[in-house]
Amino acid sequence: MTPLTLEWLMTKIELTVDGAAVSDDVEPRMLLVQYLREKLGKTGTVIGCDTSNCGACTVHLNGTSVKSCNVLAVQANGSTVTTIEGLADAAEGELHPVQEAFRECHGLQCGFCTPGMIMQAVDLLAENPSPTEEEVRLGMEGNLCRCTGYHNIVKSVLHAAGQTEGAKA
């Protein structure tokens, strides 16, 4: 008997990641986060746990935040994915207002949870542009941070909300 191999199961996926069309053959078991990191080198998105508790791997799938450890790469076929690296054109020196708010309010220390926090915050503010502190705390509940005690993360999101409103007005 030949050793078990999943080669024959390899599935072709095509999707858009951070504005670029990509296409690969992947094992059906490959997680979206593994695809992003290992196949595309999108190492801005990180893995912090193996039980979908920490949210460090949060990205946007068709405009909505998902924990990319909880999505199979094949499920993202035909989708549009945005990671922290595609949130703003950093090469042009641009920052998304939420990224800017995290820097302004010292919403990060080691920075490991930060990509997930920012992606979740962007989604939260898209749904609720003027959240209360309580709403921010509940909306960010799925993302763990060990450095900041959340104080400045919450402040960052509220700050970004204020800025967003200011920009609209």
Binding site: T43, I47, D50, C54, L87, Q109, F112, C147
Partner: protein
């Protein structure tokens, strides 16, 4: 010592946004797991499911035959070549220290210990094959828990003959730093107050967000190890000392490191196994742990039973304190494992003038994950014990908890003060910190509200918790460490290099993993050297760039590393002065240095440090006898610890019907001397607070009776979320007590919040229900524990088992009031 006052302090004290953030908020990061090298192989560990077992056989054939597997290795395949995990701090000369192989060949001593490693071309293939490694174990009896270990009936390491590793004792009567604690206790039993308590410091898991990861590249002349570590320099030392590779052939890099909290202050089996595999195969390898592996096998923290006796006179003036600790080392004596409780030895007397003190610490070995430093390391445990006891004493005497503290604390006029534990506290002002905290907290109003709620018999009661902490930090004076049998020193190193175009490269031996050194150190250098903040580049965490250092832990980077930096900058200025005098044709004594420029007193002549750097690079014109360089190194060994302190006040609401607790308000006033960057300081305090609060309310690492970690995932180990926490009031005294043992006047802040907050929270919870007969609740104060404490003495006992079939006729608790 007043140098900061002599210069314009443009940068120090400014809330600079961090230099580190740009890359971190845009995902342009260099975590170890992001590194991929050509031909890199991936490792998966096979770990023991048993807490204690002999390894009878390991069949690796199926794993080896698995697709793209390059090799499978066990302890037997390596032998001595594997090296060893070291204990750098044997706390007594006769400490029992079990041999700690990174991958034992014959016997495992905790569940999660590595028994084999699979090497494959991808992570997934390595993990698949690891499932195929067939290990036969013969299970041995495992000893779990401190009290079981003390019985010495079942042994964690049979060859040692006992579970007792070391007994470390300090007695103020014997040391001559105070009187006899036993006599004070005897006197208090007759004529005063004696408080006796047993407190449990539950086991915690540091749970840094970035799982540990290591890459080893053996393909160059030097073997390079990237590791998610707090201690690249100590790691290099230990690799060389235990694997026989000369230090000069080892380069260790700690790239971006995602938090540590003491949890990455370790030399790990995983690093040593990766090192051995890479050398054996002559190929780059990578190992990144899963979160479950991290929780199970990365070191844990705390885990003590504290037996405490506090003696006082009838007015609540403390006359003596006796502390006996039993501390669980877990399966091995890790790098500073035994020393962690000893670090607490000097802090049980805290901010108080106790005349007598006795401290004993018995460390024990068990078949559990080994323990070591976790934020605060020894000092949170000590602070918890004494701050809980002071509240109990206040209750006994019948005065406000702040009043009892005031009767015992060192007053600000009494500094410098030599404590009963033999430390000299240089400065402090407990009165000022307390007054400021009380005002910001609204202490009197909250006390009024508490009284009203009690009067009304509200279901939700309010409690107010106090913690007036101090800590010894800035680890540490090398001579002191030597006297405590620690294996290394506590100095720090810095270099300042002037580049030809006038930029400044600062090299530090401290190794940041979230602290913001690049920003804070730039501020220090910008001020002291008089150069723009943006022109300073801080380099660290690579032994090839920063060859000397003792890394980051124990709130030491600023107070020890920062001082090394100051001294290196001063040397640069001294060197530049010689060149400036030559070029300006002036007497060096007539030169002033300010804002990055030398000026000739009484003239408009001058030259900038950047111009001097360029002139040094060119080398066209310089005085005879001058070495053609402005660069300078400095090594600084602190003369004392430093002693930040603060008053933390916490208001907790406790639902007396359900036992649920809710934080209402938390205010802290920390006196940490001169603040370099208030934004970073606040961040350190916030994060520290939540880690301490989490110990009080949520976190606990639990091994079951067979030694399996049952809190082995983030589903079970309760890390707080944004929804569990509140925003904090962080204030500082208007006139801080400046540290006298470093030029900048700074004190450490990295651990302050964690050390202070745990007792503040538990004191508040107990205070909310003290009128119901409660004087202690074990941590974490879960609703169940709070509820049980409330109902321990009222006959409204736990629901009897026969109440369980709720839906059978005649069963208890079917209707309101039934079965009560």
């Amino acid at each position: 010592m007043t140098a900061t006052q002599d210069r314009p302090a443009a940068e120090i004290g400014k809330d600079r946004r961090r230099k580190e953030d740009q890359r971190l908020i845009t995902g342009r990061t260099r975590w170890t797991d992001n590194i991929t090298l050509p031909g890199m192989l991936h490792l998966a560990m096979v770990r023991s499911p048993f807490a204690h077992a002999s390894i009878t056989s390991i069949d690796v054939e199926a794993a080896k035959a698995s697709p793209n597997v390059v090799g499978v290795f066990t302890g037997k395949d390596f032998g001595e070549e594997l090296g060893a995990c070291i204990n750098a701090w044997p706390i007594t000369p006769d400490q029992k220290t079990p041999a700690h192989s990174p991958m034992p060949a014959d016997r495992v001593a905790f569940a999660g210990e590595i028994v084999a490693v699979v090497v494959a071309r991808s992570v997934a293939e390595a993990r698949d094959a690891a499932e195929l490694v067939d290990v036969e174990y013969e299970e041995l009896p495992a000893v779990i828990g401190i009290k079981n270990a003390l019985k010495d009936e079942v042994l964690a390491h049979p060859e040692l003959g006992t579970n007792k590793s070391a007994l470390w004792v300090f007695d103020s009567g014997e040391a001559g730093t105070g009187t006899d604690a036993e006599a004070a206790i005897e006197e208090a039993r007759a004529n005063g107050i004696v408080i006796e308590r047993e407190y449990r410091q539950q086991r915690l898991i540091p749970a840094f967000m970035e799982p540990r990861s290591v890459v080893v590249d053996p393909t160059g002349e030097q073997i390079t190890m990237w590791s998610a570590t707090q201690i690249p320099h100590i790691l290099r030392f230990a690799l060389a000392a235990t694997t026989g590779v000369p230090e000069s052939k080892i380069r260790v890099i700690a790239p971006d490191v995602g938090g540590g909290f003491g949890g990455k202050l370790q030399v790990t089996p995983e690093e040593w196994v990766a090192w051995a595999v890479a050398r054996r195969l002559a190929k780059p390898v990578k190992y990144t742990e899963t979160r479950s592996e991290s929780l199970m096998a990365a070191h844990h923290g705390r885990d003590q039973v504290q037996t405490l006796t506090l003696a006082a006179d009838k007015d609540g003036k403390v006359t003596g304190l006796k502390v006996h600790l039993d501390a669980d080392l877990g399966s091995y004596v890790a790098i500073v494992g035994g020393g962690v409780p000893v670090l607490g030895a000097f802090m049980f007397n805290a901010i108080y003038k106790f005349p007598s003190y006795r401290f004993e610490c018995q460390t024990v070995l068990t078949n559990t994950t080994f323990t070591d430093a976790y934020r605060g390391a020894g000092r949170p445990e000590a602070t918890y014990a004494i701050e809980r006891l002071m509240d109990e004493l206040a209750a006994e005497v019948g005065v406000d908890p702040l009043e009892i503290r005031e009767r015992n604390w060192i007053t600000h006029e009494e500094f410098p003060f030599t404590t009963v534990a033999g430390l000299e506290y240089d400065t402090g002002n407990y009165e000022a910190a307390t007054a400021k905290a009380k005002e910001a907290f609204g202490y009197d109003e909250l006390r009024r509200e508490q009284a009203e709620r009690r009067e009304r018999g509200d279901r939700v009661q309010l409690g107010i918790g106090v913690s007036t902490f101090t800590e010894m930090c800035g680890l540490a004076p090398s001579r002191v460490l030597g006297s405590l049998d620690y294996g290394a020193g506590g100095w720090e190193h810095a270099s300042v290099r002037m580049t030809p175009l006038g930029k400044v490269e600062v090299v530090t031996g401290a190794s940041a993993h979230g602290q913001g050194h690049e920003t804070a150190f730039s501020q220090i250098v910008a001020d002291r050297l008089g150069v723009p903040f943006e022109d300073v580049e801080v380099l660290h965490g690579d032994t090839q760039v920063a060859p000397k250092g003792l890394d980051t832990y124990g709130s030491r980077s600023l107070v020890v590393g920062g001082e090394a930096l100051v001294r290196a900058v001063d040397k640069v200025i001294d060197k530049a002065k010689v060149l400036a005098a030559h070029l300006l044709e002036a007497n060096p004594d007539d030169l002033d240095y300010s804002g990055g420029r030398f000026t000739v007193r009484g003239t408009d002549q001058g030259t900038a440090i950047q111009e001097l750097a360029t002139a040094t690079f060119a080398g066209h014109n310089y005085p005879d006898g001058m070495e053609l360089s402005l660069d300078a190194d400095a090594t600084y060994d602190p003369v004392n610890f430093n002693y930040p302190h603060g008053t933390h006040l916490c208001a907790m609401e406790v639902d007396t019907e359900t036992g649920a607790v809710k934080m209402r308000k938390y205010t802290c006033c920390d006196d940490i001397g001169v603040i370099i960057n208030p934004l970073i300081v606040a961040g350190q305090v916030h994060g520290g607070l939540v880690q301490g609060i989490a110990q009080a309310l949520w976190e606990e690492a639990v091994h079951d009776d067979s030694g399996t970690l049952v809190s082995g995932s983030f589903v079970d180990y309760l890390l707080p979320t944004a929804a569990d926490t509140i925003s904090f009031d962080v204030v500082h005294t208007d006139d801080p007590s400046v540290c006298t043992t470093n030029t900048l006047g700074t004190k450490g802040v990295g651990e302050a919040g964690t050390i202070a907050s745990t007792p503040a929270v538990v004191n508040a919870v107990v205070d909310a229900v003290r009128h119901l007969g409660v004087n202690d609740i074990q941590m974490p104060c879960t609703p169940e524990r709070v509820w049980r404490a409330i109902h321990a003495n009222d006959g409204d006992a736990v629901t009897p088992a026969d109440a369980m079939p709720h839906f059978q006729e005649g069963a208890l608790n079917q209707d309101e009031g039934a079965g009560q």
